[in-house]
């Protein structure tokens, strides 16, 4: 689908190497990273970094998401870090920063010529800022978008829904004996929270209000949960209460479902020729989440406070997230986080097309994380458990959200 253009690559490689403060002294950098498509791109790009810095060896410790949090913790608690560079999921940022695990990067950013921190999409870069200090710079975004089978929408003469009510109606109308309107992921915990929060945003709700009061059980939240349950019952595959990301993706890629709310970077994978979608490749399009405001997820690069060679760690981080390398990463299929990359015509042409990047720009323009705080991970699990109880009819929506509010209070004691 995309070709790697060698001439611009060489040019940008040379300029990116120049931008790097200087050739760093000998260093062995261990980097913990999640096994996602972006990792393969990072790995490939890193070969260039190593070629330009022959005394630096970069070793990636790639692993599934579930293994990462405790590995980062144990590395951070050790007298000397196992990892010189880490990636941080957005619910962990405040927790790790306040625990003293992360080195502030403000001075490094200020002294890196041409780094242009302000070029990062504001909603994404603000996640790395805790109490006025920057502890993480964006790696990739996993904001949620609406992925649809455009061929089906075209055939049925359907418009892309822009409100949650339109979406509910559309997916219900698409549901037949052979096809489901929506592949949902109501699995307990993170997955259902990540999906339902889009319904919550569409209804103007949130977990906390601006004063920090819990509003997860207010009228907007109950309405959002009722709508979510109605959509599940009318348009999602039967018996899919336990579905997470994998199952929903398989349902869409195999042609069983017409839409899904999922990570925007799944679109290229779904449309890849010879990929998971088989003959359906090329039929998928990305759009803003109905209701406008989307759930934002971001992984950020960070340097552990106990890393031995923070200068070398930052040199790599600033290189891999520099405007030039970020552009090439996007062309190679990475999820962009810089405004200049999202608006770059070369990226549109050599990457996944103008429509994809414009849709992504729209998504990132109005997107917010699931929640924040030093125990965000726990709050997401608590609320996600109660949401699951409501969808599986173990509790009424009001009862489940009241219990969620009580459990959040208990966790914040």
């Amino acid at each position: 689908m995309k070709k790697f253009n060698s001439l611009p690559a060489v040019t940008t490689f040379l300029s990116a190497t120049f931008l790097s403060t200087a050739l760093v002294s000998a260093a062995d950098l261990n980097i913990i990273i999640e096994e996602v498509p972006d990792y393969e791109i990072i790995k490939k790009l890193t070969e260039e970094y190593e070629a330009a810095n022959p005394d630096v060896t970069v070793t990636f410790d790639a692993m599934p998401f579930d293994a990462m949090r405790d590995k980062i913790l144990t590395s951070s608690l050790a007298p000397s870090a196992t990892y010189d560079v880490i990636i941080i999921d957005n619910p962990w940022m405040e927790e790790f920063a306040k625990a003293g695990y992360l080195a502030p990067l403000d001075d490094y950013i200020a002294s890196s010529d041409g780094y242009d921190f302000d070029d990062f999409v504001g909603a994404v870069s603000s996640i790395g800022v805790v109490d006025g200090k920057t502890y993480g710079v964006p790696y990739y975004n996993y904001a949620l978008g609406l992925i649809v089978r455009q061929d089906i929408f075209d055939k049925e003469g359907l418009e892309i829904p822009t409100t949650i009510e339109d979406y509910m109606e559309t997916v219900k109308s698409l549901t037949t004996d052979d096809m489901f309107g929506a592949a949902m992921q109501p699995q307990k915990g993170y997955k259902i929270m990540e999906e339902w929060k889009n319904w919550l945003y569409a209804n103007g709700g949130d977990v906390f209000d601006t004063d920090g009061n819990i509003i997860i059980n207010n009228e907007a939240a109950v309405k959002a949960l009722n709508q979510y349950i109605e959509t599940y019952k009318s348009a999602a595959p039967a018996n899919s209460l336990n579905w997470g990301f994998d199952e929903a993706l398989r349902a869409v890629s195999s042609g069983t479902a017409a839409t899904m709310l999922s990570y925007n970077w799944m679109l290229p994978a779904l449309n890849a020729e010879g990929g998971m979608s088989g003959d359906l490749a090329g039929n998928f399009t990305l759009h803003e989440v109905p209701g406008g405001k989307a759930v934002l997820g971001t992984w950020s690069w960070g340097v552990p406070a106990n890393a031995e060679d923070k200068d070398a760690a930052w040199d790599f981080v600033s290189w891999i997230s520099s405007p030039e390398v970020a552009k090439r990463r996007a062309i190679m299929g990475g999820a962009p986080v810089r405004t200049s990359v999202l608006n770059d015509e070369t990226v549109w042409k050599d990457g996944y097309g103008e429509a994809y990047y414009k849709a992504l720009s729209g998504i990132l323009e109005d997107a917010a994380p699931l929640t924040s705080g030093t125990n965000a991970e726990e709050l997401i699990e608590i609320i996600g458990t109660e949401l699951s109880a409501a969808v599986s009819e173990q509790k009424s929506p009001q009862e489940a959200l009241d219990d969620a509010a009580a459990a959040v209070k208990r966790a914040n004691r």
Partner: protein, 287 residues
């Protein structure tokens, strides 16, 4: 120090290092607000963690689910294991082949078993659901009503062979004379089983139940791989609860308190089981 004590010293030191110290440290942690992300602010809280855990609806639900799981899984494994062992003992041909085939599930790591059944039983993508659908049967294996039962069935699939192995060894070691006497007296197969086989096999059954029950209390992998404790908290087990508290939320004080409460529950159940078995064994002699 006497020579005999010197011989024991290395073992005592090793045991202290690998068992006593961690247990003592866990006990200390359980009495503190000990969070891995707040190690500079570890505070003595006395029994607060225990009070919190003992009144936490999540913990009580997880404990209830775990006990249901243990009773359900071990009972089914006991019945099936005993039945299969008796059948296998009587089998003349292919006994070794069938025996080794039956044992295969035990050699698969539980996390792989969990992942395997997650897809086998998936309503849209699973082979089992597909063929059941062909004959008009639609089962929501991981819905709120059946999820825990499905997890029990998966455990039964994997660990019944262990029971078979234990009972087969027990059956083969029983003396032949009582069985011959029962046959000469004209006892039916059922009477022989109830009055001869079962009483003589009771010690093996007790050990098998205790080993399986202790192992079943640790159920984690199936839950982690398939349901993550859901839907709602329908399959949240005590080990998953402790994992969440300790390794996802880093509340080590609460996780340690939950672990100690679990130890108390297990101890009470094991003592009750051993006592019940002993009293049953002693009863015939008292007559």
């Amino acid at each position: 120090m006497q020579l005999k004590h010197r011989f024991v010293l290395p073992l005592a030191l090793v045991l202290s290092a690998v068992m006593l110290y961690p247990v003592a440290f866990s006990a200390w942690i359980s009495l503190h607000d000990y969070r891995l992300t707040r190690l500079n602010d570890v505070r003595w809280v006395g029994l607060d963690n225990y009070t919190f855990i003992a009144t936490d609806p999540g913990f009580l639900n997880a404990m209830g689910n775990t006990i249901t799981f243990v009773i359900g899984a071990v009972t089914l494994e006991l019945i099936l294991g005993l039945g299969l062992a008796i059948l296998l003992q009587r089998l003349v041909r292919f006994q070794n082949f069938i025996r080794s085939t039956l044992l295969a599930p035990m050699f698969i790591t539980p996390i792989a078993v969990g992942l395997m059944f997650r897809f086998l039983l998936n309503s849209e993508l699973g082979v089992i659901s597909h063929y059941l659908g062909e004959i008009g049967i639609s089962i929501d294996w991981f819905g709120p009503q059946l999820a825990l039962f499905s997890i029990i069935l998966i455990d039964v699939w994997q660990w019944t062979p262990f029971m078979v192995l234990m009972f087969l060894a027990g059956l083969e070691s029983l003396p032949k004379a009582p069985f011959e006497a029962a046959r000469i007296d004209g006892a039916s197969a059922w009477l022989t089983f109830r009055s001869v086989t079962l009483p003589m096999l009771r010690p093996v059954i007790t050990v098998a139940i205790i080993i399986r029950a202790l192992d079943a209390f640790k159920v984690f992998e199936y839950v982690f791989a398939i349901t993550r404790g859901g839907p709602g908290d329908a399959t949240e087990t005590i080990m998953y609860y402790i994992y969440q508290a300790g390794f996802r939320f880093f509340r080590m004080g609460e996780a340690a308190a939950a672990a100690f409460l679990l130890i108390v529950v297990i101890l009470v159940l094991v003592i009750a089981l051993v006592k019940a078995t002993k009293s049953n064994t002693e009863a015939p002699n008292d007559v």
